[in-house]
Amino acid sequence: MSSINRVKSELEDLLELEDVEAVVLFRIDGSVIESSFDNNYTSRKIRVLQWCKDNVPRVSQEMRGNNLQKVTYELSDTCILFFAIGKIGILTTLANNTANLSLLAVETKRKASTIENYM
């Protein structure tokens, strides 16, 4: 299996978790490396994804500048987890606002570490 397919498979694992709506692996400049979505495309989700894409460069700069491994945004109806993947990527997980962020963070951290090994 190629590296990108392995990454895709890890993203799909995350998407299977309860309350997760989308998972995107961004490059730190905001371009998408790989992504995985459920089939329920709502305008809210598209709006939040656009927000993520626009803000990944700023968020990744903050993370690198302050040596942060994880940043969480809790919007009114969506939670977003940004996990740093080495110096080049940001694993972004979108979940609805009832998600258990502690449990989600455990698995996302694990996946971030696995994906880093593939890259």
């Binding site: 309860e18 009832t98 502690s102 449990l103 698995e107 996302t108």
Partner: protein, 435 residues
């Protein structure tokens, strides 16, 4: 003695099992003498069944025991909330009792409490310990709504009558496979009286209080207890428990309570508001946050001081629907008098520190650890979040880098230490085997 443990994280349980077989179990030369299998709790029952069939067929293992948990950890890995782990060993130094299953354990306790001590005591080996996994908390989605009855005037005024009604209700729920884990407190007391001197165990659990399963061989059960025991003349089994005792903050008095652990009043006032007040949590913020959830609660750690000066930890759960507070105080700790309790804080660092304290104490008479089994409260996982990997590093630091261990994040934790039962929540119980 060969010991292996490993973990696989994947959305497909079939893939998880195949990798566990290839990378962990088949690394043992010959058929393993013991296999502990733990899966996370969100797969389908049919998937678990197929996984167990594959495991028993491919490995030929007879002594397979296991269950489902919100998360699982092993040495040198970040714990997973989506996957499975295997812990296995083979060697003449440890004799493993063939695992036994007790169905409908909440309502049919007699067979277990009469049969299990006899089985445990068949061996006269120098060191022995029972290992048990039992069904943990499972409630209906409207459980909080149903508990409102316990806030009524008659429930507070006629506590003895409601205790009788409550035990009847618990029995009826138990028949349906529902209820908390507090029934284990009673089982432990019986076992200790009947000469089961050492035991460690935990409750299978789902964080959303839905289905949890127990395994023996390729059989899967949902309301049962599975158990075995290890005995040896050359290997010692050290075990211990503790909890995050970071900081005590405030004292309070539980003045009105029921045997089920439901706290109606604290310091003579309705428990929900009073506890929030003691904790300095504004009730409007709390209500706004938790009202949308049927289950989610403000979970806080408290402790009651025991005669030996140590604390017994328990969890309180506030919910906006209730005037009282749900607690995990076991029946044996609920006395006639007001109970003096103290609030404790919890932190990621406190969780790491307590994990080290547990393993250190369990291993204090062992110079050459062979393996460890840890039963760790799922609530500690929620507190630590993605920092939970640090806790496992502390276990590895004390055991040694290459010593295999498994951590099961459970619904409640329990042990018997020299015939003294200990049923707790928000805690970590650990077994270390070695020379």
């Amino acid at each position: 003695m060969q010991v292996k443990s490993g973990m696989v994280s994947n959305r497909s349980l079939k893939k998880v099992v195949k990798e566990l077989i290839d990378d962990v179990i088949l690394e043992i030369k010959g058929i393993p003498d013991f296999l502990l299998i733990a899966f996370t709790s969100k797969y389908k029952r049919t998937d678990y069944k197929r996984a167990l069939e594959l495991l028993t067929q491919e490995t030929g293992v007879k002594n397979l025991i296991g269950g489902t948990f919100p998360a699982i950890g092993v040495q040198n890995e970040v714990p997973t909330t989506q996957g499975g782990a295997a812990f296995t060993f083979k060697g003449s130094e440890i004799k493993v009792q063939r695992p036994i299953i007790y169905k409908n354990i909440r309502t049919k306790k007699k067979k277990f409490i009469t049969e299990f001590p006899k089985i445990y005591n068949t061996t006269k080996a120098k060191s022995k310990i029972a290992f048990v996994l039992s069904t943990g908390p499972k409630l209906q989605p409207n459980a909080m709504e149903q508990l409102k009855l316990l806030d009524s005037y008659p429930a507070i005024r006629y506590q003895k009558m409601f205790n009788v009604l409550g035990s009847g209700l618990e029995w009826l729920l138990g028949k349906q496979g529902l209820g908390t884990g507090s029934y284990i407190d009673e089982l432990l007391n019986y076992l200790a009286i009947n000469n089961v001197s050492e035991l460690i165990g935990g409750a299978t659990f789902d964080i959303d209080l839905e289905n949890n399963y127990q395994f023996v061989s390729d059989f899967i059960y949902s309301n049962s207890l599975v158990g075995t025991s290890f005995s040896s003349d050359t290997i010692k089994f050290g075990h211990s428990w503790t909890f995050d005792k970071s900081e005590k903050t405030k004292e309070y008095s539980i003045t009105h309570k029921l045997k089920s652990g439901y706290i109606q009043k604290i310091n003579g006032e309705r428990a929900n508001n009073k506890l929030l007040q003691i904790m300095d949590v504004p009730s409007d913020i709390y209500n706004e946050f938790f009202e949308k959830f049927s289950y989610a609660n403000a979970l806080y750690l408290s402790g009651i001081k025991e005669e030996d000066g140590n604390y017994h930890p328990f969890m309180t759960a506030n919910h906006p629907k209730l005037k009282g507070v749900v607690s995990t105080l076991p029946p044996s700790k609920i006395t006639e008098d007001p109970i003096k309790a103290e609030l404790f804080t919890q932190s990621g660092l406190g969780i790491e520190k307590s994990a080290y304290e547990c393993v250190n104490k369990a291993a204090e008479k062992i110079t050459n650890p062979k393996f460890g089994i840890f039963i760790n409260c799922a609530n500690r996982l929620l507190i630590a979040g993605d920092k939970i990997a640090e806790e496992n590093k502390k276990l590895a630091e004390r055991l040694g880098d290459n010593v295999p261990f498994i951590t099961l994040y459970s619904g409640c934790e329990f042990s018997i230490f020299s015939k003294k039962p200990k049923y707790t929540t928000v805690s970590i119980h650990g077994l270390v085997a070695g020379k």
